[in-house]
Each structure stands twice: as structure tokens, then as C-alpha cells.
């Protein structure tokens, strides 16, 4: 009997024929794989095999913590260990992972490969800054370590390198000491985009965690109205004495029909989200999971977009050099009549070491777009705006950006390509995304 064709998917539903090989020994299973993937939380085609290839190694069973040094705050783990597991182990013992993306269902390897950022980017940078060293399986079968001292060029290319420089087997990360595992958070309604941006800037000097949500369907004067969120680890004397309990999760049991989300229902949701927040400041102790990973409360929420799925467009715009860039981007979003839930907005700090690392100083905006006939054109239009403003997009969210648009945003491609030529001259490591955006015609 022929083996049935299997399908692999990104979080947004982008699919490709392929098979995920799982196993406790990642070094073994990655040997003849074109790519390694983790928990598949990248939205688009980053974790999918290129056309023609089939086998992708799945790291999720290579999920051991190999070292947790409680005195020094150092953690070494296999690539497949999830952020959820790491936090469950270290939070009650006075440490936190230094960078926390919007979901905790990501792997250590996936976080390094995308060089992820969190609400503290303006002070702590991306995860790359905290990675001490990596253990990699190279395309030629060698297993090597790399760090700032050892094979530094490989190290830099791997941070944010989307799995294209080698299979990450292990990573060692410096942790952050915390006074308690709880969060002190303040949230506030803001009536315009300018207030939101100003609010982020002002909060940046006093608060380690900041982010904004904005209503991408409001128009005119309401354009950019939203909610500003800031937080910090709670001090011992403010926090409850018990450790945060594990959260109960709901689940979306099946794909919702595609029409469920439309302009009317989304507008209603956004307005409700905005209006529900009182005009005055809300402040208090929050569970770390509901503060850092609010969407994790509903598992498989991606199914509300229906079978056709969705994509996320996330870009960063140099708001300081080009004041108004964010407003112009949002106007172009509104005029495209894309229709989107709340979008997330965050001020970014310094550029990281990763050759293709996403954040740069400026404002990052992320919008979810349901896949429809017009979505490709909407993404093109948004990308033209991004190019005009001198910004760039985030690979780990992307599935629709055009190759010429990406090249126009990324003067760094040449350097990244050189690193790949050095460490994988035969181009054994590829993804559906790398074929779509990076591979040179040969």
C-alpha cells in the first residue's frame, strides 16, 4: 500500500505535502531532513519542506532540559523543549526566560531560529542576546558548537536564520532573575495612534514590558485608538505568596465556517474590546500567562479563521527617521478594506546580532488577515508601503510576501547568502519559504 500523502501546516494554515519525523534523538532524525521544525507556531511556510522534498525533522520529542543552574541562572536545553515547560520549571525558583513571545507553545529551537522578541524588546532585545551557545548539526553531517567566540559567523547567521544554517540541537540561554513569578500590570485606553506611540515611548524608560493593541477597523479620528499595556515583575511584597496555578484552557474543537469572521463581527469584537476597558487606568497583579500569552487561553484558536486560514503581516517601521510612518501604514491597511482583528503594536529597541534578525528601532505592527481572494493583493500593497518607509517584514509570520518585495526590504540578504554558501554550499537545508523568497535561480 502506498503511504498516503501527508500534509504539514503552519499556524495560519499554509500547507505543503510533507512528513514530520519525530524522535527523542534529534541528531539522528535530522540527518536526512531538509529542515527541522518545532511546534509549528510560525504562521506561514517557514517550517514547511520545499517542493520536492518530503521529510522534515520534528524536534518536539527532543525536549529535555539538560542543565538548569539555579545559582547562576543558566539553562541548557534540547531544541524541542517548549517555553511552557521551561517556565513551569524555572518561574517558581526565581528565574524567567529572558524573552517571552505571545505564545508559550514554541520550542527553544524555534525561538532561536526566528530570533524572537517580546514585550521587553526595548530593553532586553531579542532572544539572541541571551543565547550563550548553540549545538548544531550542519548540512554536511558534522555536529559543532558555536557562540560569540567560536564560529561566530555561524552563530550570528543562525540567530534568526530560520533553520537554514543547520539543525539546532541544543541551546544555552542566560536566564533573568525575578523577584516573584507574578506580574504587576497597568492598562489604559488611548484614543489615537499618536497617543499610543507616545505612551509606548514614555513607558519605555520605566517599564520592562510594554505593548499596545489597536482597533484596525476604526477609521478617521478613531484610527489607532487602542489599549496601552505596561508591566513589570511584581515585587515579593505585592505578589500572592502562592505560585501561579496552571491555567484552564478552552479549545476550538473544529474549523469554523469561513463567513464567521466578517467586517461586521470583527468590528463588533474590536469595539467591544475597546469599550469594555474602563476610561480610567486599570492596575493590579496579573497571572504571568494571561499577561504574556493571552491567546494561549484558547488552544487551536487559529481554527476560527476557517479552513482557508489566515496570515499575519508583521512589519517594523523606522518611526523616528520617518515620523508618521505608522499612521501611513495603518491608513493603507484601512483603505485596503482588509478587515482585521485587533492589531499588536510595539516599539522596538536596538538591532540584534542575528544576520536576519527582524526587529530594528521603530514601531512594529502585526495584523492578522483572513485568507481570501484579495489577500495577496492586500499584502502586496502593505509591502509597498513598508518598502517606501524603509521598514521590513518578519519571516516567521509570512506566507505571501513577493520575492522582489522582500529583496527590496532586505539589504542584508547578500551577507546571509554568503553565510549559507559557507556552511551549506550544497543548499541541503531549505524550506518552502526559503525557496519562495531566498534561493537564487540556478
Amino acid at each position: 500500500m502506498a503511504t498516503p500523502t501527508r500534509i504539514l501546516r503552519g499556524w495560519g494554515g499554509t500547507s505543503a505535502p510533507g512528513e514530520e519525523i519525530l524522535g527523542e534523538n534529534l541528531e539522528e532524525i535530522a540527518r536526512d531532513a531538509v529542515l527541522t521544525r518545532g511546534l509549528g507556531r510560525s504562521y506561514g511556510d517557514s517550517s514547511l519542506p520545499p517542493p520536492g522534498a518530503h521529510k522534515v525533522a520534528g524536534s518536539t520529542r527532543a525536549d529535555q532540559i539538560l542543565l538548569f543552574d539555579e545559582a547562576d541562572g543558566l539553562l541548557r536545553g534540547e531544541a524541542g523543549v517548549s517555553l511552557a515547560k521551561i517556565q513551569r520549571v524555572i518561574l517558581p525558583r526565581g528565574w524567567s526566560f529572558p524573552v517571552l513571545p505571545g505564545t508559550q507553545y514554541v520550542t527553544l529551537g524555534g525561538m532561536v531560529a526566528a530570533d524572537v522578541h517580546g514585550k521587553n524588546h526595548h530593553v532586553d532585545g531579542t532572544i539572541g542576546r541571551h543565547v550563550q551557545s548553540l549545538r548544531l548539526l550542519l548540512a554536511d553531517g558534522r555536529v559543532v558548537r558555536c557562540s560569540r567566540e567560536e564560529r561566530a559567523d555561524l552563530f550570528r547567521a543562525t540567530l534568526g536564520g530560520m533553520g537554514l544554517t543547520g539543525h539546532i540541537l541544543e541551546a544555552e540561554v542566560r536566564l533573568q532573575p525575578i523577584p516573584s513569578p507574578w506580574i504587576w500590570a497597568e492598562t489604559q485606553r488611548v484614543e489615537s495612534l499618536e497617543d499610543l506611540i507616545l505612551g509606548l515611548r514614555t513607558a519605555a524608560s520605566d517599564w520592562p514590558f510594554t505593548v499596545g493593541w489597536l482597533d484596525a477597523l476604526a477609521t478617521g479620528r478613531g484610527l489607532g485608538r487602542g489599549i496601552l499595556i505596561r508591566g513589570r515583575w511584581a515585587e515579593k511584597n505585592e505578589a500572592p505568596t502562592n505560585p501561579p496555578a496552571e491555567k484552564h484552557r478552552m479549545s476550538v474543537p473544529f474549523y469554523c465556517p469561513g463567513w464567521l469572521l466578517n467586517r461586521v463581527s470583527m468590528r463588533a469584537f474590536n469595539t467591544l474590546y475597546f469599550r469594555r476597558h474602563p476610561r480610567r487606568l486599570k492596575a493590579g497583579i496579573r497571572h504571568p500567562e494571561s499577561f504574556f500569552h493571552p491567546l494561549d487561553a484558547v488552544s487551536r484558536w487559529n481554527r476560527i479563521y476557517g479552513r482557508r486560514g489566515f496570515t499575519q503581516h508583521q512589519c517594523v517601521l523606522p518611526e523616528t527617521e520617518r515620523p508618521g510612518a505608522t499612521r501611513r501604514f495603518l491608513e493603507s491597511l484601512v483603505s485596503s478594506r482588509a478587515g482585521s482583528f485587533l492589531c499588536v503594536i510595539k516599539d522596538c529597541g536596538e538591532v540584534g546580532e542575528g544576520l536576519l534578525s527582524f526587529p530594528r528601532p521603530g514601531i512594529s505592527i502585526a495584523v492578522d488577515l483572513q485568507i481570501k481572494r484579495t489577500t495577496q493583493e492586500i499584502v502586496n500593497q502593505l509591502n509597498r508601503r513598508v518598502i517606501a518607509e524603509g521598514g521590513r517584514i518578519y519571516l516567521t509570520k509570512d506566507s505571501l510576501t513577493r520575492r522582489d518585495h522582500f529583496a527590496a526590504m532586505e539589504p542584508r540578504l547578500e551577507a546571509f547568502d554568503a553565510a549559507r554558501r559557507r556552511w551549506d554550499p550544497e543548499r541541503r537545508l531549505q524550506s518552502a519559504q526559503s525557496v519562495r523568497l531566498l534561493e537564487q535561480a540556478r
Binding site: G23, E24, Q64, I65, F68
Partner: protein
Amino acid sequence: MKVVILGATRGMGRALARKMAARGDRLFLLGRDRNALDRSAQDLKALGGAEVGTSHCDLEQPDGFAAALAAAETALGGFDTVVVTAALFAPQDELERDHLLSRRLLDVNFTRTIEFCEEARRRLTGGGGGTLCVFSSVAGERGRKPVVLYGAAKAGLSHYLEGLDHKFRSMGLKTVCVKPGFVKTDMTAGLDRPPFSGEPEKIAPRVLRAIDRGRPVVYVPPPWRWIMLVIRNLPRAIMRKVGF
């Protein structure tokens, strides 16, 4: 609990050991691969906080069983629970082609496993009782085409465990025979998945509850209990026709 576990480096054994570590049980790991043992011990230590000792023990080398269990006794200051998940699997047609492999499989899954259990039984009853939890299989419930040899070894193992339970329960030795249906681990990697296949992480709490309560037989995932009830009662003529 103070637990010795053979097979914690992968699959269901790994998941079970993690549950135990997280709730504060003391663990000692036995296995054939020193490097894999060390890594697993580190992970369990991170989860539970306590040191986790290891010792080499290969089911194919029965001369090492006594020393391995003695090392566990020393490290833990005596133990009250022994878990065996280690076993070999190969598809029936491969075993038919390769008689050395089938000899090895029968040997490891039946004779050696029982020898190991005997050593553990002596130590547990000597120490005043405890729990011996061994992973057999639903494959041992009925002679079936895809698992003629593997199933025969597991049938023998299940029989042995039932006998132990009858003979020694009154002396304080509880025997727990775990009968997994289909669980997604390395062992079943290339196989087509039937309905009701399970994940090691979901199964572990159920096995742990069975150990805590000393239940003699537990099916995981739970629906397999009913599936096997049906299969055990299917007439021979039908079993001969079907492919499973």
C-alpha cells in the same frame, strides 16, 4: 515513592518518569545507553529538584540485573516501586524474514524481562513489599496476524504478571500490568495509526494512578479496554478473516 525505572529514556517511560519527578517521587534510572541515561537524569532533576541516579542495565545482559538493582538500592536507600517499560518491537513480516531478530525479540520481551522482574520481586518482597509495574501489551490478548511473535511474548509476560499478582499480593507485592493499545512513540513510528491512538503524556497520569492504587491491570488509552473486550470475544472464524 522511591522508584527504579527501566526504559525512562524514551516514550511512555520518559513521560511517566516526568510525572513522578514533578510530584516529588525519588527516581533511579536503569538503561543500556549511558549518555541517554545522563541526559534523562538531568531533565528529571530539573523537573523535580532532587538528584536522579543512573546505572547501566541492558535487558540483553541478564548478568547485570542484580548489580543494577543493588546500585539503585544503595542510591535510594531502598526502593518501593519498580517500573519496566523497556522492550523491543518489530513488524511481523520482518521477524519472519530475520530469525535472529525474532529470537532476540522473544528473548528480551519474555525471558529477560521476566528474569529482571524476578530479581526485582525478590528485592521488593525482601524489603517488605511494594509495586512492580510492567508494560505488556494488548497484543498479548489474542493471537493476531500482525503481531504473532511479539504478541506471543507479551501474552506470556501478561500471564506471568497475573501469576505473580495472585501469589504475592498477600505478601505486600502489588503487580500492575499495563496494556497499551496504540501509543505514538518511536516504537510505532512507521506504522499506520488506528483510531484511539494515544500520546505518552496523556497516558502517564493514568498509569501513575494505577500504580498508586495497585490496580492489577490497566488499559491505556482507556477505550482499548472495550476494544479488547470485543476482540477477545470474536469467534475464531472471524479473527482468521480480519487483518488486524
